[in-house]
């Protein structure tokens, strides 16, 4: 299975200590090359567009696996960017690619200019923009949403980072595009659909990281001894870890629902997954740090690679409040008699 293969590869990459990006980071491009060799960046691309034609739910397990290993490479972003390009009938990206998150402050305008287009705008917290060779912009157009494909050089980047040190950059563009660089979005959908799919990816990544944080914490509770016995033998610690396991299990299950909903970009399962994994992230990170004591509160210990991502990924592509609001609005519209049918349709 592709997930097992990816698990082994990501583990090797993580163990080799390569922090991945930013460029110049030792071994980053070599690691990326290994992913590319296996065709992983094309995992969500159908066969006729040059991808492996995997079942989407299976392919999305790559993102969970990447989360499990805190893979410091823009794999999920490139997978999504290529998915959108392929759905819109544009050529897939040759290297690392990324997409806009569609946050409330992003501004994009796409206008006809002669036989081509003018694309202008600014976007914030764009994942891995500083290393992406291709930027995919989904813009509302006069006749429905369009997808534009920008090469490095056509946009400028103001670097930023998330709590785990991953690039989250502001991006500025004002550029002329040839007709063939822009296509109607088709099944790729508008910015709201991209945000949903991005949220599905982050749910899966969160689920992977949650799994690992639980494993690390359970293992540590078995190794660390105080008062003459492993701390995992104290009932107070056991109860905390059991609580954490519940959150992790719920996150994993919810993310599975998001993976199934990815193709149709269905709001309910994806929003539920982002809310549930986000909530699990906060609780699990807190318990993990409590159980690890002071050593977990250092950059020397591996835990922070995972908890840092939990704290950031829960905010990205919409936090719990944003997706809860979307769900709550659906519930209010469904009304008292429509609520249960809404829930059972998911």
């Amino acid at each position: 299975m592709i997930e097992d293969l990816a698990d082994r590869l990501f583990a090797e990459i993580a163990i080799s200590g390569a922090p991945g990006w930013p460029p110049g980071g030792a071994g980053a491009s070599e690691s990326w090359g290994r992913l590319a060799e296996l065709g992983l960046p094309l995992a969500l691309v159908p066969e006729e567009a040059g991808g492996p034609g995997l079942d989407l739910v299976e392919a999305l397990e790559l993102v969970r696996a990447a989360g499990r290993h805190a893979l410091a490479l823009p794999l999920a972003e490139t997978m999504l960017a290529n998915h959108i390009l392929a759905e819109a009938g544009l050529p897939v990206a040759p290297g690392a690619a990324t997409i806009l998150c569609g946050g409330p402050q992003d501004q994009v305008s796409l206008r006809r200019a002669g036989s081509g287009w003018t694309l202008a705008g600014r976007a914030f917290r764009v994942p891995w923009a500083s290393v992406a060779e291709t930027l995919v912009v989904v813009a509302p157009g006069e006749a429905g949403p369009c997808v534009a494909r920008l090469e490095a050089g056509a946009f400028t980047v103001e670097p930023g980072r998330n709590l785990a040190g991953e690039p989250r950059d502001a991006v500025l563009f004002d550029t002329e595009l040839r007709a063939e660089q822009v296509r109607p979005a088709g099944r790729a959908g508008g910015p709201d659909v991209v945000r949903r799919r991005g949220a599905a990816l982050r749910s899966l990544a969160l689920a992977g990281a949650l799994e690992r944080v639980l494993a690390l914490t359970v293992a540590y509770a078995g190794e660390r001894s105080q008062f003459g016995k492993p701390i995992g033998r104290f009932q107070a610690v056991q109860q905390s870890l059991a609580e954490m396991a519940g959150h992790v299990a719920a996150g994993a299950a919810a993310a599975g629902g998001a993976a199934e909903a990815f193709a149709g970009a269905d709001l309910l399962p994806i929003a539920a997954a982002k809310v549930r994994t986000g909530e699990a992230a906060g609780r699990a990170a807190a318990i993990a740090h409590q159980v690890h004591g002071a050593i977990g509160f250092t950059q020397e210990h591996i835990l922070h690679r995972f908890t840092g991502r939990l704290w950031s990924w829960r905010d990205e592509f919409g936090d719990e409040a944003e997706w809860s609001l979307a769900l709550g609005t659906q519930a209010v519209e469904a009304g008292p008699d429509g609520l249960w049918p809404l829930v059972t349709a998911a």
Binding site: G222, R233, Q238, V248, G257, S324, G335, D337
Partner: protein
């Protein structure tokens, strides 16, 4: 450790027409039933309602036809259960017999016990109660004291069971008791099929926080039962009762006990609900959707013959947190004063649930016991 996280995707099956049938039936059958009464759902006793479900083939759904069952899938049964709970149908009379007593007899009962009892359960005519807890025996079930002593032709039983839900309105009890020495703990226990009309059994209702009487003290004084009342193996009670608990913990009633409050909340908020209220309600929907997925996953594992006792403990623990926080969140959003006697549906439903919520993390295994089971699943004990 991975077992704790093993919630495979729920089996896909087309259950739309069954769901539509159940919904149509419930719409008629429950019309005019107030939310406060709906909130009782699987603690609401209505023998006539249970008989009607039996007539419709919605009890003992997965059992073999020769025992009065209907050989439907676990997922079809799940649909019926969740629709009943979401609508707040009064299903308590047959709930325990359908959920655990019947399946226990199916697995460990003698042929005579099965043929005598199972068809009557499936018909919605035969109700069971659970005889596990005692005055001094709660979480530590292996310390059970009620004792059955072998006598000519059977056993003589003495002891007291407590918290026996609907013991006063049931026909039978599955009794878990001691047949060996106290020191043997688990090994010295057995299960019996007790006809509650047997002389020497007295049942005294106990009143709960909200003033209702559903559970009881059941005292056994020199009660004689024939040898044929033994279920399974003499001394095999512990493994059997653990299997029974797996059934008891795995269903959708473990996260839907407060559900009827959620539509009432939406009714009270109306279409102009504030952003704050939508966020809070939406978060509850996210939890509900996730719990339901996990619970259906457990149903799928059961269907495949696996033993998801650990996953059931996870769902029950998370489910109780959800059921207990729901009334608290509704209070915070609506400033409703809980009042059992209020004409206002939200106020009376809220009152019922505030008074019942403490039991959600006690009955069927306490939060601490469930988390102990999960910790064992993680390899910590």
């Amino acid at each position: 450790m991975t077992e704790v996280l093993n919630f495979p995707p729920p089996p896909a099956a087309d259950v739309r027409s069954l769901r539509a049938d159940v919904r149509a039936f419930l719409r008629d059958a429950l019309s005019g039933r107030r939310p406060r009464d709906r909130a009782r759902t699987w603690t609401g006793f209505d023998a006539e309602f249970s008989r009607e479900l039996g007539r419709r083939g919605w009890i003992g759904m997965t059992w073999p036809k020769r025992y009065g069952g209907h050989e439907r899938s676990a997922l079809e049964r799940y649909v019926v259960l969740e629709e009943m709970l979401a609508a707040g149908a009064p299903v308590a009379a047959h709930w325990i017999s359908d959920r655990q007593s019947g399946p226990l007899l199916l697995k460990f009962g003698t042929e005579a016990q099965r043929t005598a009892i199972l068809p009557r359960i499936a018909a919605g005519e035969c109700f069971f109660c659970i005889g596990m807890s005692e005055p001094d025996v709660g979480s530590d079930l292996a310390a059970v004291r009620t004792r059955a002593v072998p006598v000519e032709g059977g056993f003589r039983i003495n002891g007291t069971k407590l918290w026996t839900t609907y013991g006063h309105r049931s026909h039978y009890m599955i009794l878990f008791c001691r047949t060996g020495s106290q020191e043997e703990r688990q090994a010295g226990t057995s299960q019996f099929l007790i006809d509650l009309a047997t002389p020497g059994i007295s049942v005294r209702p106990v009143t709960d926080l909200s003033g209702e009487s559903h559970f009881n003290e059941v005292v056994f004084t020199d009660v004689f039962v024939p040898s044929s009342a033994l279920i399974g193996r003499l001394g095999g009670g512990w493994d059997q009762v653990m299997g029974e608990l797996a059934f008891e913990r795995s269903g959708p009633e473990r996260f839907l006990s407060s559900f009827v409050l959620l539509p009432e909340l939406l009714r009270s908020l109306g279409p102009e609900a504030s952003e704050r209220a939508r966020i809070a309600a939406g978060r509850l929907v996210a939890h509900l959707v996730t719990l339901r997925r996990m619970s259906r996953s457990v149903a799928g594992l059961l269907e495949r013959g696996e033993n998801p006792a650990l996953q059931a403990a996870v769902v029950k623990d998370l489910g109780a947190v959800f059921e207990q926080e729901l009334p608290e969140i509704v209070r915070g959003l609506t400033s409703t004063e809980a009042d059992l006697a209020a004409a206002d549906d939200l106020a009376s439903t809220l009152a019922h649930l505030v008074l019942n919520a403490p039991s959600f993390s006690l009955r069927g295994g306490t939060r601490e016991i469930l988390r102990g089971i999960i910790a064992r699943g993680l390899g910590l004990r």
